[in-house]
């Protein structure tokens, strides 16, 4: 009984993540270090007036603050560097932050500027909420963004309770409720007219508003505010689509100064691969192929594909392979953008326990790694595997294909006649000298012939195969084309 009570008493815990300096922090990695030390403000157009959206600490020291018009800000601080807002890049960063949140909880809501996540189901995994919050704060900080949070029983309340810092101690239910009721009413999303009504009614805190009878309120205020009140009381759900990682991965790092050597490319590549692995982990899948694109400021870009013979979600392996392949690549002189994309994923195998007594898995793993690294260093055309085809003509019965394209081996039928181990890439014509076959040295026939017919549907081939040897004892596989009566060497016994 007690347990049931406890369970029903457990309510949602919503975390509201706000990134106050997101427009600025989106642009920071792209500007030079010296420039970043100067006062910077990000501007955006609001009601046809260019206003400061956010600014750095140096600008704040001059008295610049959000919502000032640009002319006022420049009057306050003449050295102010004003940068336009980059909404696309901001959204990209926000997606990345949502991905971090997604690795903590499957219930994530993303709107234009903020992220919510519901953490009540994730306590066990992180051994307590405080650890979870601490870990989340660390992970978000490592993305070099400023983050503040609010904790509430529903998304609306969490937003209202947003603080000016990141809180890593989870308050208890009563505390949350207490804070909510004591929140000043001016923080509630409302218009000027409604704010005036609050003042006239003598309402100072949310508690005052929520204490009023609902019917009386609905007569005074519009349905939107009533919905907000219902949501604050957990009476109506907060309806928003949950965040899910995108179906394909595409990310880039820009460096306006340009990257001039391959060694310095490795750092952005490593960062991108780490982001890819974060994405793979969130989606619980592995990738089989990634593509790099190196874009110079002027001229065509250079792409590089990394193919894996087995699926991977390990960034260090991917980096090692990319590095090997990069060595062979002719790059443009200066690279401005490094782009990583991946669109072929397979579900990650469940569990990674190795129950094989003889460790056959390890051998297979090693083989895959070897194929990948040979592939990366020598190129895809350097590797091949022999395969067996159901065909009569030897050159078609045995072909070389790229590794990994191997279908299941055709059951090896026992051949009666002896066959060579080497096949010449093309049959070599044999000369006749003094009534004797001659290819590099005189040959004499030991056994044969065996007649092979093939390709009757196109150019008919009929060959009589013989085994011949030279004076030293090496054996050759010869054939005589019956149509032209010419002799060829087709293989070597070895």
């Amino acid at each position: 009984m007690l347990k049931l009570d406890k369970k029903s008493a457990r309510s949602d815990i919503w975390l509201y993540l706000h990134f106050p300096l997101l427009p600025l922090e989106t642009l920071l990695p792209k500007i030079q270090v010296e420039q970043a030390q100067k006062p910077i403000a990000i501007m955006s157009l609001q009601k046809n007036i260019q206003r400061v959206l956010c600014c750095n600490a140096q600008a704040e020291a001059w008295g610049v603050e959000a919502n000032l018009s640009i002319s006022t800000a420049l009057a306050l601080c003449p050295e102010l560097e004003v940068l336009p807002r980059q909404i696309d890049q901001e959204q990209q960063l926000l997606q990345q932050l949502a991905l971090v949140a997604y690795s903590f909880s499957p219930v994530v809501i993303l709107n234009d500027t903020n992220v919510w996540l519901e953490i009540s189901g994730c306590q066990q995994l992180f051994k307590g909420y405080d650890q979870l919050l601490q870990e989340l704060a660390n992970r978000l900080c490592s993305q070099s963004v400023t983050v503040v949070n609010g904790i509430g029983q529903n998304p609306t309340a969490a937003r209202l309770l947003c603080k000016s810092e990141f809180e890593t101690q989870l308050p208890n239910q009563a505390e949350i409720r207490h804070r909510l009721l004591n929140t000043e009413i001016r923080f509630l999303k409302s218009n000027r007219k409604q704010q005036q009504s609050f003042k006239q009614l003598g309402l100072n805190t949310l508690g005052d508003l929520l204490a009023l009878p609902r019917s009386a309120l609905s007569r005074r205020f519009d349905s939107e505010l009533m919905l907000t009140i219902a949501q604050l009381n957990n009476e109506k759900p907060f309806i928003a689509p949950y965040f899910h990682p995108a179906n394909t991965f595409h990310d880039l790092i820009q460096n306006p100064q340009g990257i001039f050597n391959k060694e310095s490319l490795l750092f952005p590549m490593k960062m991108l691969l780490q982001r890819l692995c974060q994405y793979l982990m969130a989606r619980q899948c592995h990738c089989r192929e990634v593509e790099w694109c190196f874009e110079p400021l002027i001229g065509g870009s250079q792409t590089m594909q990394i193919q894996l013979s087995s699926s991977q979600n390990n960034w260090s392996t991917l980096l090692m392979l990319s590095r090997l392949q990069l060595e062979r690549l002719e790059l443009p002189r200066s690279i401005e953008k490094v782009i990583l994309s991946a669109d072929q994923f397979i579900e990650a195998p469940m569990g990674t326990f190795n129950l094989d007594l003889f460790d056959n898995q390890k051998n297979a793993q090693q083989s895959h790694e070897l194929i990948d690294s040979l592939n990366a260093r020598l190129g895809i055309n350097a590797l091949s595997q022999p395969i067996l085809n159901q065909d009569y003509l030897p050159e078609q019965a045995s072909t070389l294909v790229a590794p990994g394209k191997h279908s299941s081996t055709v059951p090896g039928e026992q051949v009666k006649t002896s066959q060579p181990l080497w096949l010449l890439s093309a049959p070599a014509p044999v000369q006749m000298r003094n009534q004797q076959l001659y290819w590099r040295q005189p040959l004499s026939i030991i056994s044969g012939p065996e007649r092979l017919c093939g390709n009757w549907w196109q150019s008919e081939q009929q060959r009589d195969y013989y085994i011949a040897s030279d004076s030293k004892g090496a054996r050759y596989w010869l054939f005589r084309e019956t149509s032209s009566q010419r002799w060829f060497v087709h293989g070597l016994f070895s």
């Binding site: 080497w422 085994i467 070597l492």
Partner: protein, 231 residues
């Protein structure tokens, strides 16, 4: 310090005066007489150099049982720069899993050496053919050390002209053909044993059966005279 000595002693290429021959692991060659000659079989954790007088005398069929052993063990068999294309039906009839064979073509000597070392260190069986008349001693020593570290067998095919140069390989075998299917193996170098041992090895019966042309399926390119058919 004692740890360092232990490391040195555990290496295959450390010669100790007391012991005539270090106990070493080997895999059977599949031929009893050859196993006897090689004191157990092909040495593993070692580089073996095979020097056939020319290609085509049966040097590769000596290694078929070893290839099968590795492929059955789910290990990759890397053929580095083979002189010709391996013929799949013959390998399949020896019950070698074809998807365990990997043919690698290198563009230059640096790539060749890198691929060889990488393969040995990744637990694959290496069969390498050199393009140059003789590889450098230091490079081959690299491969020998890689084999010693990884515990894998590695085979290098070179020409008998390489015999004049020293080699760090654990074993060097010269292969000559006496007649068809008869190999003469000469051990040129073997650790712990004086070289020079010889063995005549038969690779199986030579099929000398000639088929009468008349018994073959009809020749599509020949018009048979009608009278002959009437007879």
């Amino acid at each position: 310090m004692s740890n360092n000595i232990a490391t040195v002693l555990s290496r295959q290429d450390t010669w100790r005066g007391r012991s005539q021959r270090l106990p070493r692991r080997a895999i059977t060659t599949g031929h009893n007489s050859l196993d006897l000659l090689l004191h157990g079989g092909w040495p593993i954790s070692a580089l073996t150099e095979l020097m056939p007088q020319q290609f085509g005398i049966g040097e590769l069929s000596l290694l078929l049982p070893t290839l099968k052993y590795y492929a059955d063990n789910n290990q990759l068999c890397v053929w580095l720069d083979p002189p010709h294309q391996p013929y799949a039906p013959r390998l399949a009839s020896a019950n070698i899993a074809l998807d365990k064979l990997l043919v690698v073509r290198s563009k230059n000597y640096i790539e060749w050496l890198w691929a060889a070392e990488q393969s040995i260190r990744s637990g694959a069986l290496l069969l390498a053919w050199t393009k140059q008349p003789s590889s450098r001693y230091a490079d081959l020593r690299k491969l020998q050390l890689a084999a010693a570290d990884s515990g894998n067998a590695a085979f290098l095919f070179s020409t008998p002209s390489a015999l004049s140069a020293p080699s760090p390989a654990t074993m060097r075998l010269e292969l000559r053909s006496l007649k068809v299917n008869q190999l003469l193996l000469t051990v040129r170098k073997q650790r712990g044993v004086a070289g020079g041992a010889r063995l005549e090895l038969s690779l199986g019966e030579t099929n000398t059966q000639r088929t009468d042309l008349a018994l073959l399926p009809a020749d599509r390119h020949r018009t048979y005279p009608i009278q002959q058919l009437n007879n």
